[in-house]
């Protein structure tokens, strides 16, 4: 059904059959009849609290909830003769938790585990069959704050560090047969940590002041080392690496990934925080906080099929199903003066590079001169041209990254001229310019970058390996990772019901893993980009080198509609429903539940898809060398198929990706995909002077791309070594020698050994006689102006 690769097209008759074109366009579009509504999905940092918690647990782990409750009640009975938590006074409750903490350091692993189970039960809000679901969350929150005050967080991480080391060498090399029985302890610890982090990550306006204080200090402590030098994030990444290189294949990978995601989210903040940080950074360097989106007073005229100057299309075809577009259907033929609300809903931007290039070309064309260096001087250009340039300049948007790159360039040049103090010149600047004072910056993103920097390539590779193993389109190969270690039940399923449950479970498991990885990568990319462009570039370069682009495309090479509406859900087995229902030990295949849920899509799958598309777009934005990769991997048909998903944000990013490739795809493609092109025109922001649809300079030289990639790599390395390497960089030149500025101290100059020729040594007395004694020299004048003296002709020997 894909019509790309040269567009099937006019079958040799030479005459374009318009009806054929229209038929193709109709096939092109969404097959759903009429205007199906868009998916009601609101993109956010995470799903709801309840959903996120339920996704922590696989269905095969459902029986374990009851054991936590039993253990808790037993412990409570032994200490206090009651099994009801609410019966205890606050001091007793604190005392109980502290005694549990004491058991974290006992030698016997079972004892430790029991303590963790009790705390986990508390962290879940003391569920029981007669408890109402709405009361679980506030109880859980109160319990977690109490536990935080007593230091449960640090103690759990220390326990995690202990449990991490168990099983070393036991599972190495064993490929299959890892079930949830093999990582029980780890799962408990990680679950406890996850519930704490997830709860803390969500602020609540009703919190009392000490809770607010505790939450704030908790979030700060996430960036601080907890066990030795390791922060929680670095510990988790170490576990991830160990899992991926096969030394610890029994690690519960889904939990590790979810915990990484939530820790980073809590530490650095989500979408709203990111917006705030970006605005602040922009204001610090003097840029306007945002690109002003003032709608033009006269809306631009849309080239709709209804408005057809040549009258080729008949009336019936004018009401083509415009499923993708946002424009309403009331286009009447010939009605050009459309009132507001019909225009494009964005204001076009211009890049400063494009504007400067345009000015330069105007100069050479109209002014018949060239300055060779761009710039925005309008002198010498005719008045209308000047006006057009001024309009262009009104639309210029200077991204923060441009400023940061320029700062780095200046710092580099300054360093080359500076005296060798061993510190980069940028550090010596006393003004607190938010860009270069990186070493003085103390935000969580910066500390996370420092933590991740030494092994970032391996972490990226590990994340992508797991993503590959979890993608729905990949077949299990011998050397791919076994990610099912924390979902497979210990005993194999015996009947149909259990088999179906395990299948659903496994699919759901994979979906959650994809969600966690995609969210983590996007979050890191976004935060690093705002913090410093080169941090972002470092991470994205390693992603690209690890083949992220083909991986994401492979992920999209499936039936997206099916994926988005997948229903791997057993609502009665989801937490907390499974613990609030009476325990009857029977799972019925309630397929009918699927219709009661919702809006026809799976939140986590749509979320993952949007994240992946955004990651792809971020990696390739403004980089021709990576866009060409998109073309080479034949991403256009894949992306077009993905356009069928009716969600504006997802479609927007897919259209952005298609937009950058359009000029490489060939005239036939453009001709046969006019609907897509018009959708791009309507939805994606224009950049003035960006001829994305014309494909003028088609075969941009492929060999340049490698060079550009490597030039970027060199800048990134320079950045990293300047600011983050343990020993300060010394000035070196490319040949390995050490450069230092020329010494102008007269003593050292006079002390230098100057090799004299043999002839000179024999005849020097004559020279002295003639040049020095006999020639009259006004030495005072020499001291005044040395250049004047230089004009005298020396005597050659």
């Amino acid at each position: 059904m894909s019509l790309v690769d040269g567009g099937g097209g006019a079958t040799g008759t030479g005459r374009i059959d318009l009806r054929q074109v229209l038929r193709r366009q109709r096939k092109d579009s969404d097959p759903t009849p009429g205007d199906a509504p868009d998916l009601e999905f609101e993109y956010a940092d995470t799903d709801t609290y309840a959903h996120e918690l339920s996704e922590l647990y696989s269905y095969s782990e459902a029986p374990e909830f009851y054991t936590t409750r039993e253990v808790f009640e037993t412990c409570l009975e032994t200490s206090y003769d009651t099994s009801c938590w609410a019966d205890l006074s606050r001091e007793q409750q604190l005392s109980f938790v502290m005694s549990l903490l004491d058991r974290f350091e006992v030698v016997e692993p079972k004892e430790r585990l029991e303590a963790v189970k009790c705390l986990l039960y508390l962290a879940h809000g003391n569920f029981a069959p007669d408890v109402r679901e709405e009361s679980l969350e506030p109880t859980a929150r109160a319990n977690i704050f109490m536990m935080l005050e007593l230091g449960v967080y640090c103690a759990t991480i220390e326990l995690l560090a202990v449990e991490m080391e168990q099983g070393k060498g036991v599972y190495e090399g064993t490929r299959a047969n890892i079930t949830i029985a093999d990582n029980y302890n780890l799962r408990m610890c990680l679950s406890l940590l996850y519930v704490i982090v997830e709860t803390m990550q969500r602020g609540c306006p009703n919190d009392p002041p000490d809770w607010l204080r505790l939450r704030k200090s908790f979030i700060e402590s996430l960036s601080e080392p907890v066990v030795g030098e390791e922060t929680l994030t670095s510990l988790l990444f170490v576990m991830l690496l160990a899992f991926c290189n096969g030394t610890m294949p029994h690690y519960p990978i889904k939990r590790i990934l979810l915990l990484i995601w939530k820790t980073i989210l809590a530490m650095m903040g989500g979408l709203e925080d990111l917006q705030e940080i970006k605005k602040q950074r922009r204001e610090v360097v003097g840029l306007p906080a945002e690109f002003p989106e003032v709608r033009p007073s006269r809306p631009l005229i849309l080239p709709t099929p209804a408005f057809d100057p040549r009258g080729l299309i008949d009336g019936a075809a004018a009401r083509i199903n415009r499923g993708i577009s946002q424009v309403s259907d009331t286009d009447s033929v010939g009605d050009i003066s459309i009132s507001g609300g019909k225009g494009l809903d964005f204001r076009p931007k211009a890049r400063s590079k494009d504007v400067e290039a345009y000015v330069e070309s105007c100069r050479s064309k109209y002014g018949c001169f060239e300055t060779g260096e761009g710039g925005n001087e309008l002198v010498g250009l005719p008045e209308p041209i000047q006006e057009s340039i001024r309009v262009l300049q009104q639309h210029v948007y200077v991204p923060l990254s441009d400023i940061q790159i320029a700062e780095e360039e200046t710092a580099k040049k300054a360093q080359a001229c500076a005296l060798p103090t061993g510190k980069p010149a940028a550090e010596d600047k006393t003004e607190d310019c938010g860009v270069t004072s990186l070493t003085k910056r103390d935000n969580p993103t910066e500390s996370l970058y420092k933590v991740l920097l030494p092994n970032l390539p391996q972490y990226m590779i590990a994340l992508l390996k797991v993503l590959l193993a979890a993608a729905p389109t990949s077949r299990a190969r011998n050397d791919s990772l076994n990610i099912l270690g924390d979902v497979l039940p210990p005993e194999a399923p015996t009947n149909i019901v259990e088999t179906t449950q395990v299948t659903f479970d496994v699919n759901r498991h994979k979906e959650i893993i994809v969600k966690a990885i995609s969210a983590t990568l996007l979050l890191l990319l976004k935060h690093f980009k705002v913090n410093h462009i080169y941090q972002f570039e470092y991470m994205s370069q390693h992603l690209v080198f690890a083949n992220c682009i083909p991986l994401v495309l492979k992920f999209f090479n499936q039936n997206m509609m099916q994926y988005i509406s997948a229903r791997n859900n057993f609502p009665s087995l989801n937490f907390p429903t499974c613990v609030l229902l009476p325990q009857d030990g029977e799972v019925t295949l309630e397929v009918s539940e699927s219709t009661t849920t919702d809006s026809g899509f799976c939140w986590r799958n749509l979320f993952s898809c949007i994240n992946l598309v955004r990651i792809l777009q971020k990696l390739t934005k403004w980089k021709h060398f990576r866009t060409v990769m998109l073309v080479v991997f034949r991403s256009a048909p894949i992306l077009k198929r993905a356009l069928k998903v009716r969600h504006p944000m997802m479609q927007l990013y897919i259209l952005k990706l298609l937009k950058v490739q359009t000029k490489y795809l060939g005239r036939n493609w453009r001709r046969s995909n006019m609907k897509t092109i018009s959708a791009i025109y309507r939805r994606v922001r224009h950049h003035l002077h960006d001829d994305w649809a014309y494909g003028n300079d088609l075969d941009a030289r492929p060999w340049d791309f490698q060079q550009q990639e490597f030039a970027l790599k060199a800048s990134i390395e320079y950045f990293n070594t300047t600011y983050y390497s343990p020993d300060p960089p010394s000035l070196t030149d490319p040949f390995g020698g050490k450069l230092s500025p020329m010494s102008q101290n007269y003593l050292s100059v006079l002390g230098k050994h100057v090799p004299l020729s043999k002839a000179w040594k024999e005849k020097y007395e004559e020279w002295v006689e003639v040049e020095v004694f006999q020639m009259p020299r006004d030495w005072d004048k020499f001291l005044e102006s040395p250049t004047h003296y230089m004009e005298a002709k020396p005597m050659d020997l």
Partner: protein, 239 residues
């Protein structure tokens, strides 16, 4: 400072001072102490004044309202004084005999001072824990100031207290004579018990040493004979 200007009293132990003449300077009011180490000075002074009056030692002086700093300084002081106990234990607590760190038979504890917690012998546990606690309490990362403690670092005080307490409980149940002598000279266990109870750093369930109204634990060695309220046990050390 006018009173001091005529005759500056230097509160120092000069080289050559004999041990019995140490600290022989006039007391100073807490609010006059013009140093960031005022809290430590005050605590040490109160201990010297009367080590059995634990309530007075544990009561923060007027003018000092930062409870976190108060707890921190006390914990520090406990670590300092426990070193004397460690010295005495070195002679008695033979790693061959007390191979595990335990007080009662209920639980054996891991020594958390290593990268990977180990089952150290009791003496090793004592030494490592004291060393680890001092490192932590002195570390710049977590406790970078003597006059204000970060919230996240306050949470660590509980775990330090728990680990240190095990030294007391081990000494009580396995080296009773030594414990009794030491307690008679310093009242350290009594002070520690009252300290953790007063400031909520440990639960009473984990206080195993029967002192200060703490009853004997349910599961205890029968031949140790820990009596309620007494801190002179007449039992023998475990063979």
């Amino acid at each position: 400072m006018a009173a001091e200007s005529e005759q500056r009293i230097l509160r120092r132990n000069r080289p050559g001072t004999k041990a019995k003449d140490f600290y022989s300077w006039p007391p100073q009011d807490f609010n006059d102490m013009d140093t960031i180490l005022a809290v430590q000075q005050y605590i040490q002074y109160m201990i010297r004044k009367d080590h059995t009056d634990v309530d007075a030692i544990l009561e923060p002086p007027e003018g000092h309202d930062d409870l976190a700093v108060w707890k921190y300084e006390h914990l520090r002081q406990f670590c300092l004084e426990l070193n004397h106990m460690a010295v005495r234990l070195q002679n008695e607590c033979d790693p061959v005999i007390c191979t595990k760190m335990k007080a009662t038979e209920q639980w054996i504890f891991l020594c958390a001072a290593h990268g990977e917690p180990k089952e150290c012998s009791a003496l090793d546990y004592t030494l490592h824990t004291l060393h680890g606690a001092s490192c932590l309490l002195n570390s710049n990362k977590h406790f970078d100031s003597r006059v204000s403690i970060r919230e996240s670092s306050v949470q660590r005080l509980g775990s330090i207290a728990r680990r240190i307490y095990r030294i007391f409980s081990h000494a009580f149940f396995h080296h009773q004579q030594l414990f009794a002598e030491f307690e008679g000279e310093t009242s350290l266990c009594l002070r520690f018990t009252r300290f953790v109870t007063k400031y909520g750093l440990m639960s009473r369930e984990n206080l195993l040493v029967p002192i200060d109204g703490v009853s004997s634990p349910v599961v205890s060695q029968q031949d140790e004979g820990g009596d309620e309220g007494g801190d002179e046990g007449a039992g023998e050390t475990e063979a």
